[in-house]
Structure formats: structure tokens, C-alpha cells
């Protein structure tokens, strides 16, 4: 009987095109390559390119081809147009990238209709994964770092009162809501909530922070997009002497993007963030990742949490190609293959929750320190294992649908 099964399988394989047939998998990459947030796109793109370069042979005889398009401004419209055309015109089989949540939200009905697997490498609005069964995410939801930070701030850092300040757009509101939920559940009290203007222009943070300084909470939780805003926050915080005045700076890892950390100066020292990646994370995968990065892009170039997510995203795509033997034309099969996928990447253990298609990962409390070599470094103070997106666990607002 065994022999018949083998022969049958071989015949079947030949009939559908042959096992040995080399497929070229086309992957559409949609990232902001131009505009005010171009640096975010480039952080992910570099990770994609690096992974493809180092692992091209892993999927032999199959090949991968990245078709890159500019995500444009965070309007959703341009991303939707270019991504739709990647499907209809360029005939890609997998879509990935997406820095901005509006891009992913705009595209959700399209990928449902086209049965196109879409692997988000950044966009963090919590409820995006609920919009289509073809969406999965390997980056984070805003709740991943923010919710555990609430309890950690109260229990370990010792904040009894906190002010929250956030860039006035949905990820900012998400992040502060998550923090507030976690913080107040632990027993803390949020005394002041300050929106910091639009995500496009970096504002002058000083008047906002001056007001917080005058209100004198124990801690200040800040969410800003991790581009030029982060440096601005650190400068205003340092200039106002807020640490001396007893207001601790805390937030998600967006506050100290690794590629900007060395520019932040003394003001950053003592900042505690919750995050899933830091270049100083001590695991063998991260060491290898960093070494490869520096070799490719120079000693002054650093990956950040976005790059780490980009790396894992490409890893997941490669594993899926291997698992499906290059035959990724059926979107449902791709998504099924991704459900429950897990790996040890630069971030440590990550996996995809089969129920929500969202990422599960460790969250680390990280403190900025001065390293012995004079550079700024990150020290892991504690780790929460296998954190899921609490927004969906607690079914808050759109996360519950």
C-alpha cells in the first residue's frame, strides 16, 4: 500500500506542475519611501533587503521578487491605489509593509475581495487585524507595550500619579488608553492628559511639557511617532530639567528608536520604556542580526524595533514559501500556514496567534543607560513573556468586533 501512496503522490505532483518546478514568488512591498516619514519606511526596507540577501538560498529552487511601491502620505488613498494595482497589474501573491494604519485600514476590503494575504510589518492600530481574515501582523499593536507598561510603572518604577501626553492621532490615543487602563487597574492615577498636536509636524514640545512639569506628576507617559518627534521630546524634556524636578519619563519603545538613540544625549539616561526590541537585547539571533546589519549598512547605522519586525516579517514569508513549496497563489492557504507560525528572531520568541492573526511576543522594560564605552545603551530591567494584544483580549471598542 505504501508504494501506491508514493506513486500516487508523485503522479499528483507531476500533474499539478511538478515538485521541482521553481516558482518566483512576487511580494508587493508598500512602504513610505518619500515624504515626512520616509525614514520609517527605510528602516523596514533595509531589514527586508538584508533578509532576502542573506537567505535567498533557503527557499531554493524558488525565488522571491520584491516589488516596491511608495506608500506616500498617511492618507490611505495612495497606499490603496498602489497596493490594488500590485494585485491587479503586477500580480503579486503576498502584500507586506504598511507603516501607517490608514493604509492598512483602507486596503482591508480589497484584500478580502482579492483573497490576498497581507502581512503588516508596522501599522499598530489594534483593531486592524479584525477587518479582514487575510490580514496578519508581525509588528505590534499599540496595546502590546502600553498595557503592561501601566502595571510596571505603578508596581516597579513607583509612579503613583502620571501625566499622559500623546500625538493627537489614533495610535497616540490607543497607546495612552492602553496605558491608562493598565495603570489605573494597578492602582495609579492619571492626573493630566495632553494631546501634542498633529503627527505631521514636530511641534515645539516645551509649552506642553512645561505644563506637565508644573503639575508635578511622578511620571510622564509619552507617545509620539518614532521619527523626528522622538528626538524633539527628549530635547524638551532635558532642557526643562524635568528629571531633576522629579518627573520620570516613560513610554513605549517609540520614544527611543535605536537609530536615533545616540543623538539624544544625557537627557535620555534614565528613561524607561516598554518594548519588544532594543539593539542591546541579549540573544544570539539579535547578535547575528546586528552584525549582519552593521556589515551591510555601516557601523553608524542601527536597526530599530521596526527593522526587527521587518526582519521577522520576511522570515515568516520565507518560511511560508518553503512550507507551501513555492505555491502561494491561494491566499487562504498562505494565511493558514502563517497561523501559529513562530520563530526566535531578534526580538526573541515571536509567534502568530491563530485566533486573532496578531503577533504574540515578549515585552521588555528597558532603561536607557550610559555604557562603559561612553555610548548610550539599553538595559533590560524585566520581561513579560508572550504578551498578546490586550485590546482584543479585553474586547475594547472596535477590538471587540
Amino acid at each position: 500500500m505504501q508504494i501506491f501512496r508514493w506513486v500516487g503522490a508523485a503522479a499528483l505532483a507531476l500533474a499539478v506542475g511538478g515538485v521541482a518546478q521553481a516558482e518566483t514568488v512576487k511580494v508587493g512591498v508598500v512602504l513610505p519611501f518619500s515624504g515626512a516619514n520616509a525614514d520609517l519606511g527605510h528602516q523596514i526596507d533595509k531589514a527586508f533587503d538584508l533578509y532576502v540577501k542573506l537567505h535567498a538560498n533557503d527557499i531554493a529552487p524558488h525565488k522571491i521578487e520584491l516589488v516596491k511601491r511608495d506608500e506616500g502620505p498617511p492618507t490611505g488613498a495612495q497606499a490603496k491605489t498602489v497596493a490594488t494595482e500590485l494585485i491587479t497589474n503586477d500580480k503579486v501573491q503576498i502584500l507586506t509593509g504598511f507603516v501607517f494604519s490608514p493604509s492598512a485600514i483602507a486596503l482591508a476590503p480589497v484584500v478580502t475581495q482579492a483573497k490576498m494575504p497581507m502581512i503588516i510589518a508596522n501599522a499598530g492600530t489594534a483593531w486592524i487585524t479584525n477587518l479582514s481574515p487575510y490580514i496578519t501582523r508581525l509588528s505590534f499593536s499599540m496595546w502590546h507595550p502600553a498595557y503592561p507598561m501601566g502595571a510596571y510603572a505603578f508596581d516597579t518604577i513607583g509612579c503613583k500619579t502620571a501625566a499622559v501626553a500623546y500625538t493627537d492621532f489614533p495610535p497616540g490615543k490607543d497607546s495612552t488608553e492602553a496605558f491608562t487602563k493598565g495603570f489605573e487597574k494597578a492602582g495609579g492615577k492619571v492626573t493630566l492628559s495632553i494631546p501634542l498636536g498633529s503627527p505631521v509636524q514636530v511641534p515645539d514640545f516645551t509649552p506642553f511639557f512645561q505644563r506637565i512639569k508644573d503639575a508635578h506628576p511622578d511620571c510622564m507617559y509619552v507617545f509620539i511617532p518614532s521619527g523626528a518627534h522622538a528626538t524633539g521630546v527628549m530635547k524638551a524634556y532635558g532642557e526643562l530639567g524635568m528629571r531633576k524636578a522629579g518627573v520620570k519619563l516613560i513610554g513605549p519603545m517609540d520614544l527611543i528608536p535605536d537609530n536615533k538613540l545616540q543623538d539624544m544625549g544625557d537627557a535620555a539616561i534614565g528613561t524607561i520604556v516598554m518594548g519588544h526590541y532594543a539593539v542591546d537585547l541579549d540573544n544570539p539571533e539579535n547578535k547575528a542580526f546586528l552584525a549582519a546589519w552593521h556589515k551591510e549598512y555601516g557601523a553608524d547605522s542601527y536597526p530599530d524595533f521596526m527593522s526587527a519586525a521587518g526582519w521577522d516579517t520576511m522570515h515568516a514569508i520565507f518560511d511560508t514559501i518553503k512550507k507551501l513549496n513555492g505555491n502561494v497563489s491561494d491566499g487562504s492557504k498562505v494565511i493558514d500556514a502563517l497561523k501559529g507560525w513562530s520563530t526566535n528572531g531578534p526580538r526573541g520568541q515571536v509567534s502568530i496567534d491563530p485566533a486573532t492573526r496578531d503577533v504574540v511576543q515578549d515585552e521588555h522594560a528597558i532603561e536607557v543607560i550610559r555604557r562603559p564605552d561612553g555610548k548610550l545603551g539599553e538595559k533590560v530591567l524585566g520581561t513579560t513573556k508572550a504578551v498578546k494584544d490586550e485590546c482584543k483580549e479585553l474586547k475594547i471598542g472596535r477590538c471587540g468586533t
Binding site: 509649552p207 521619527g227 523626528a228
Partner: protein, 290 residues
């Protein structure tokens, strides 16, 4: 110090520092638009270029921040001259719309060019020790960098005022703003005056760009990101008026800061609301000619 007074001092101080940045960066634009009747939307690109030159001078060549600022301003002033002679001059008599198209085109090209050389990641500059931290004035401490902005702004205002009001060149510029034909007919070389003021205006923009790095960080997109802000200062102040630009920068800077401090929820509103109110009452701005 009582709480309310403390708040007022904070707002005034931060507002003043912000106003000085606005003034330094916008005054060149005001003169270009007033004197030459030229809509220069590439003004932000000159500011951005100044910022990147400061980055190179401080980071790569190890020159101190303040000398770098001066070198960058002079360099950008010089670089702007061929642009004025070669491109802008051809459009002095053209419509506003064509000037908009040309200068937006230049700004786009500048963004792509600087992205090519510097990449899209925000840059920052190393500051000397005396510009970090704060200085104590006895009754309270102020951030040093902002105090520096205010002092620098005051010095620049004094110099510009002296040149504008007390020198031969200044008199010629004022004459040309008021009545170009008359100025030409009494023998003022208005063309050369244009080149000079354009270079000085671009140099000041570069200075503003260099100073802005510490406040906002620097990306190539700086060329257009804050353009609206500069245009607002120019419009509210009145075209070509030094006094007007200063007053507009002060009013907008202080109101914006106060709005952010006191009404953070509607913080974005303030600067536009002030603009609308001023322009509805005084359509030509504070010191513009009707």
C-alpha cells in the same frame, strides 16, 4: 513665586524663544515677497540646506555649533546668488502662479537631492556644554538654548534695524520697496539690490534652519514642512516690513505657546485663529501697505 506668575513667565519666555526662531527664518521671505514681489516657496529649502550644512560642519568636520551656524548662513547666502541670477530673475515679471510652480519645483528637487546625500533619518547636532541644561537667573531657571535663541534674535533685530534704517543700503531697499520705478530713475541699481537682499534673506533662512535642528530635528522634508508657518508670519506681519515681521513673530509665537500650554486640546487651532482674526481686521497685515 506664585503659581500664576510662574505660568505667565513660562509662556512669555518660551513664546519669545519660539518667536525669535520664527522671525529669523521668516524675515528673508518677507523681504523677498515685499521687495521683489516674488512668491518664494523654496525659502524652506534654503533653511533646510543651512541645517544640513551645520550638521556636516559640526559632525564631520568637528567645528563648534556657533561658528558652524555663521559659516552655513554665509555659504547658503552665496549659493542662493546663482539661483537668483539664473532662475528667479527670469520670473520677476511673471505671474504669482508661475513663481509658485518654479519654487515648489525647486523645493521638490532639493528634498530629493538632500535625501540622496543625507538619507531620510532625522539629524541632530552636538551642542557645546554652555548651550545644554539651564541657566539660573536667581528667581528661576531657564533652558540655556532658548535663552540663546532670544539673545541671538535681539542681536539680529538690532543689526537688521540699523542696516535698514540707518545705512545707505537700507535706505535704497526701503525706497525700492515703496516705489521701484522711482528708485530706478534716481539711479539705484535695483537689480543688484535684489541679489543682495535675496542672498541675505536666504542666509537668514539657513541660520533659522540651523537653529531649528535642536527644536524639531532635521529631515529633507523640512523644506516644505514648516512653509505654511513662515507664510503666515509674513502675511500677518505685512509684506516687506521688518517691524511687521517682528510683531507677527512675537504675537504668533506667544499666542501659540499660550494656546498649547493652557488649551492643549485645541492647541493646533490657535495660530490659525489668530491669523484669521488679524487678517480679517487688517488685510495687509500689521505693517503692510493696503
Amino acid at each position: 513665586m506664585p503659581h500664576v506668575a510662574n505660568i505667565a513667565v513660562s509662556i512669555l519666555f518660551d513664546g519669545l524663544a519660539y518667536a525669535m526662531f520664527l522671525f529669523i527664518t521668516s524675515v528673508g521671505l518677507s523681504v523677498t515677497m515685499g521687495l521683489m514681489n516674488f512668491v518664494n516657496l523654496a525659502h524652506g529649502a534654503f533653511a533646510m540646506a543651512g541645517g544640513y550644512i551645520v550638521v556636516t560642519l559640526t559632525r564631520t568636520l568637528g567645528i563648534d555649533f556657533v561658528p558652524s551656524l555663521i559659516i552655513a548662513s554665509v555659504l547658503v547666502g552665496l549659493i542662493s546668488i546663482p539661483f537668483e541670477r539664473g532662475l528667479y530673475r527670469r520670473l520677476y515679471k511673471a505671474t504669482d502662479l508661475e513663481q509658485v510652480l518654479l519654487t515648489i519645483g525647486l523645493a521638490f528637487m532639493a528634498i530629493a537631492t538632500f535625501t540622496y546625500f543625507y538619507g531620510p533619518i532625522p539629524k541632530s547636532v552636538p551642542l557645546p556644554n554652555w548651550l545644554q541644561g539651564d541657566i539660573n537667573l536667581g528667581f528661576r531657571a531657564f533652558p540655556s538654548y532658548r535663552a540663546f535663541l532670544i539673545v541671538l534674535g535681539v542681536i539680529l533685530i538690532a543689526v537688521l534695524w540699523y542696516v535698514f534704517e540707518r545705512t545707505n543700503i537700507g535706505a535704497k531697499i526701503r525706497a525700492a520697496v515703496d516705489n521701484r520705478r522711482m528708485a530706478e530713475s534716481v539711479g539705484i541699481n535695483v537689480d543688484r539690490l535684489f541679489t543682495l537682499t535675496f542672498a541675505v534673506g536666504s542666509g537668514l533662512a539657513a541660520l533659522g534652519g540651523g537653529l531649528a535642528i535642536q527644536l524639531f530635528g532635521l529631515t529633507p522634508y523640512f523644506a516644505v514642512l514648516y512653509l505654511v508657518l513662515f507664510l503666515i508670519v509674513v502675511a500677518v506681519g505685512g509684506l516687506g516690513s521688518l517691524k511687521g515681521t517682528l510683531l507677527a513673530a512675537l504675537v504668533l509665537g506667544v499666542f501659540d505657546t499660550a494656546g498649547k500650554y493652557l488649551f492643549a486640546d485645541a492647541g493646533g487651532f490657535f495660530i490659525y485663529a489668530v491669523t484669521v482674526v488679524v487678517l480679517l481686521i487688517k488685510p495687509a497685515g500689521f505693517y503692510g501697505r493696503e
